[in-house]
């Protein structure tokens, strides 16, 4: 995976790289780790149990990580989900989750 791949994927690489002090290898390494982040699984589990408190916390954590790495395509559905979860809206979150997971798979395919 290269920075250009990431850019093509839709990540705001300028923003992400700045946070990594311009260190590309470091940035790419962290993205690899982010894809293994257990908050994805936590969020999916919580939604399955309809535990909105836990789902909010997991979405909240994910949003911080994805935002820091500027992985916009995954960040956006998670962020939207988090804002809805904040008020514990009783709606179907799965479409948001699916969109996030689909983008995550897309990114994984780049590695």
């Amino acid at each position: 995976m290269t920075i250009d791949d990431l850019k093509a994927f839709g990540a705001d690489t300028d923003d992400g790289l700045k946070r990594c002090m311009g260190n590309e290898a470091f940035y790419l390494k962290l993205i690899g780790k982010a894809l293994e982040d257990k908050s994805f699984a936590d969020l999916q589990d919580a939604l399955g149990r309809n535990d909105l408190n836990a789902a909010f916390e997991a979405a909240h954590s994910l949003k911080g990580v994805l935002g820091n790495l500027a992985l916009t395509p995954i960040y956006t559905p998670v962020y939207e989900m988090m804002e809805l979860l904040r008020n514990r809206n009783d709606i179907d979150y799965q479409p948001y989750m699916d969109r996030a997971l689909e983008k995550k798979a897309e990114l994984e395919a780049l590695i």
């Binding site: 002090m21 962290l30 949003k63 911080g64 990580v65 820091n68």
Partner: protein, 562 residues
């Protein structure tokens, strides 16, 4: 204003990043690594432990709000409720704008949003928070001692620890300065003079140790601590401080204990404990001003503590045994057993025989000595009584009475009831009272001794010649015998047989009409010389070392059958 940390030119401040997301921790650590020493925690519990461990060196905490084990806001509350931790500034990391206000209300200094802003912004917020927090500490009233302007203990320890962190390889000395008997100074010359002296000591210490690499604190009333780069010899400092009382024509002894090149694995408190132990060792030695800690001191201290702790049990289980050192009357052709001095021995189940020199000074300090003495008096009375009943022999035995015991109004009653309980007469018990006991506050002591004598007890003045009593006073003292200080015997026979001092003492005894007892007599030569000079009674290894009651009993039987 010069801040403490300005002096740490090449040091890095320590910052804790507490966040359960690895990526967030890594990003911050990477941003801060150049300027800060970053430590990481992945949950609230670990964060709390690290904060406690590094409380003296931590400059800032970056705290995520949502973490396993302990949540950020709860941790904030724990910190603000702890006096040792509440001074460390916290910046909250949050991706949730609603939490920002709550965090600030809970005592956070600032917040950093997620996704993180530009690294420069993060760094600026961190350094500003640290600066503000350090400034706040500097102006806080408790950082400096009001009287001397030196650091207070809490800040002193904090700064020493921070210094160690910045300069881990520096060899440092921990020094404890103590004014001998400062409370007496205060009482004699007034608090104002006392305070002035403390201020001067502080000024002098600042002159000597005022460099950027030393820290000075006033720990308690008259105890000062200094943490400074290692020097081989600190005696010149002690000299410079010793003359501080000269303006007041007051002789002041300041003693210094030095723990050189401290072991930095020991926490800072323990290092200064060691310095203090070294200082206290020379409390009563007026010719030594600086003492250096060595490991043997710790052993001695622990040993002393053990003895004091075990005293009650030892007393109860009768581990203390009374030994008897015979005294012989040498006035006739042949020496005759005339009496004995009771001496206590501690037969410890694990440590074996412990010398009285090891425990008596300790018990005197702790006030346990009166219990031990009473035990000895009783035990001696039981033995005298037993010998009377079983053998029909009566030999008086002398016991020691300390100065403190003479002040006890119940002393006469206690001794009389001991005699009565055991069916012996008061004249069977001889009381040895050291000469120096008479010197201070002599009227009260003299009256008490007179009372004892009126009740039939014999009084021996012990250690005569060591206490500087005036000849005028001696003539009025109620005594039945003078016991020569052992030092007279030693010097008389060490240095070209100069026995003139002994003859003077014997003349005094003649004038008072009482016999002279010499103790510590070791050779026949000494014994004959003393006899020639007119000494009446001899005690010492020449005749017998102190022996257990059974052995002493044999000596008495021998005497009877001769």
């Amino acid at each position: 204003m010069r801040r403490f940390t300005d002096t740490l030119e090449d040091g890095k401040r320590q910052v804790l990043v507490a966040d359960d997301e690895l990526i967030n921790r890594e990003i911050l650590a990477n941003i801060l690594a150049d300027e800060y020493d970053v430590i990481l925690a992945e949950d609230g519990e670990i964060a709390y432990e690290l904060i406690k461990q590094n409380r003296n060196t931590l400059s800032l905490i970056l705290l995520d709000l949502i973490m396993p084990k302990i949540k950020g806001l709860d941790l904030l509350k724990m910190l603000s409720g702890d006096n040792e931790l509440k001074g460390i500034p916290v910046i909250v990391l949050t991706s949730d704008q609603d939490s920002e206000v709550t965090s600030l209300q809970s005592g956070a200094f600032d917040f950093i949003p997620k996704p993180y802003p530009q690294p420069d912004v993060i760094k600026a917020r961190i350094s500003r928070s640290i600066e503000l927090a350090e400034g706040r500490q500097i102006i806080s009233a408790t950082e400096k001692d009001g009287l001397t302007g030196l650091y207070t203990l809490e800040y002193f320890y904090r700064y020493c620890s921070q210094y160690d962190k910045f300069f881990p390889a520096a060899e440092m000395d921990a020094i404890c300065f103590d004014v001998n008997h400062f409370h007496v100074l205060n009482e004699r010359f007034g608090i104002e003079v006392g305070s002035e002296i403390l201020k001067r000591i502080a000024t002098r210490l600042t002159e000597v140790f005022g460099g950027q690499k030393s820290f000075i604190c006033r720990k308690t009333a008259d105890t000062f601590l200094v943490y400074c780069p290692h020097q081989d010899d600190h005696s010149s400092v002690a000299d410079q401080i010793a003359n501080i009382g000269d303006d007041f024509q007051i002789g002041i002894k300041i003693r210094a204990g030095v723990y050189s090149c401290c072991d930095k694995k020991l926490d800072i408190h323990s290092r200064f404990d060691r310095a203090k132990i070294a200082a206290d060792k020379i409390r009563n030695n007026y010719s030594v001003f600086v003492n250096y800690f060595d490991e043997a001191l710790i052993d001695a201290e622990l040993f002393a503590e053990q003895l004091v702790d075990e005293f009650p049990k030892a007393l109860e289980s009768r581990q203390f045994q009374v030994y008897f050192q015979p005294k012989y009357d040498i006035r006739g052709d042949r020496p005759v057993l005339s009496s004995a001095e009771a001496l206590v021995r501690w037969v410890h189940p694990d440590l074996g025989m412990i010398s009285p020199g090891a425990f008596i000074p300790l018990f005197e300090e702790d006030g346990l000595i009166s219990k031990l003495d009473e035990y000895v008096w009783r035990s001696v009375a039981e033995h005298i009584s037993g010998w009377k009943k079983r053998l029909g022999i009566s030999v008086p035995v002398s016991v020691n009475i300390s100065r403190a015991e003479l002040y006890d109004p119940a002393l006469v009653d206690t001794l009389e009831s001991i005699a009565r309980d055991n069916g012996i007469t008061t004249s069977d018990l001889v009381l040895e009272i050291t000469e120096s006991a008479y010197v201070s506050d002599s009227n009260q002591i003299v009256d008490r001794v007179k009372t004892l004598r009126d009740h039939g007890f014999f009084i021996e003045m012990d250690d005569f010649g060591s206490g500087y009593s005036s000849l005028n006073m001696i003539s009025e003292l109620p005594i039945d015998a003078l016991k020569l200080d052992m030092k007279f015997i030693r010097t008389a026979f060490d240095k070209q047989n100069d026995t003139r001092m002994i003859s003077i003492v014997i003349d005094i005894a003649d004038y008072l009409g009482v016999p002279v007892i010499a103790e510590g007599v070791e050779t026949e030569e000494q014994c004959l010389a003393l006899k020639k000079l007119g000494c009446a009674i001899i005690q010492g290894y020449y005749f017998s070392r102190p022996v257990p009651a059974d052995d002493f009993e044999k000596l008495m039987i021998d005497k009877k059958t001769v």
